[in-house]
């Protein structure tokens, strides 16, 4: 077959990276949970968005403070008790030591995929230009100040500040 002999050479397509179109896109993630399994969705999405040139802000509120509190951020837990998706009987998962065991298993699964632990993940997001914010009311309730929080957190802000921050953004509550 000599089909190529008759075809004319084509110019290669050039990927449209849409740099300009993405210029205005902004993503706000609200992280309100403090368990290991609920910390990752926000971190993964934030990191992916930053890699696509999207402006990213993460607002940590209530239990989400566990993710940015330097005392707890490296030690989040996964609790299988009461979680039907684990397909484990509650009578078993409620026994002493089960949370430690299920946390260890989940951490191993995450590490096997070469996904960083929470503190390193925050470093990655911070270095990629992501903005981290903490909720004023939560900080006051928990008696925490910026000194207690991950160094990349830019500030403790009020709900009204958050409204300004999230103007025009796609907002996801986790």
């Amino acid at each position: 077959m000599m089909t190529t002999a008759t075809s004319t050479p084509e110019a290669a397509p050039i990927p449209s990276f849409d740099d300009d179109e993405e210029g205005g896109r902004k993503l706000v993630l609200i992280c309100s949970k403090g368990s290991l399994d609920m910390a990752y969705p926000g971190l993964v999405l934030a990191n992916a968005a930053l890699g696509e040139g999207i402006e990213v802000h993460i607002f940590f509120t209530f239990w989400g403070f566990e993710i940015i509190n330097t005392k707890t951020m490296g030690d989040l837990k996964f609790v299988a008790l009461g979680n039907p998706a684990t397909h484990m009987p509650n009578a078993v998962m409620g026994l002493p030591g089960m949370t430690a065991m299920s946390t260890k298993m989940m951490k191993k699964q995450i590490a096997d995929l070469d996904i960083p632990e929470v503190p390193e993940f925050l470093d990655l997001i911070h270095e990629s230009g992501g903005h981290l914010w903490a909720c004023r009311m939560s900080a006051d309730m928990m008696k925490l100040t910026e000194d207690d929080l991950y160094e990349g957190v830019e500030g403790i802000i009020s709900a009204s500040d958050f409204m300004e921050l999230s103007e025009g953004a796609q907002t996801i509550f986790i």
Binding site: E10, I14, N47, A48, I115, P116
Partner: protein
């Protein structure tokens, strides 16, 4: 997939323009690909590109940004400077690789 002519030879690319066969790539082609998306290659770009290609050859898939940083040793901030806004995709395009499939 289609066949395009670049650097005076036939190159296989997908519908977006990413090379489908890394072995058809050379550094002269990298310069043309980089120019297509407004990047002027420096030695530092080439260091990152060589890492990405070596890693892909070894692992069978294009390294993600995190892997390029963690395993290749290139700081994330610098990768964003070298390949602005969409570093992983731009790097893989210039390196003659497919886009990374990993999430992180």
């Amino acid at each position: 997939m289609s066949v395009a002519t670049m650097q005076g030879r036939e190159i296989h690319v997908d519908e977006e323009g990413f090379l489908t066969d890394p072995s058809e790539w050379d550094e002269a082609l990298a310069e043309e690909l980089a120019a297509n998306i407004g990047i002027t290659l420096t030695d530092r770009h080439l260091e990152v590109i060589r890492f990405a290609r070596a890693d892909q050859a070894e692992q069978g898939e294009t390294p993600t940004l995190r892997r390029t940083s963690a395993v290749g040793g290139f700081p994330t901030k610098e990768l964003f400077q070298l390949f602005p806004k969409k570093p992983a995709k731009k790097l893989s395009y210039i390196a003659g690789l497919q886009k990374p499939v990993g999430c992180v």
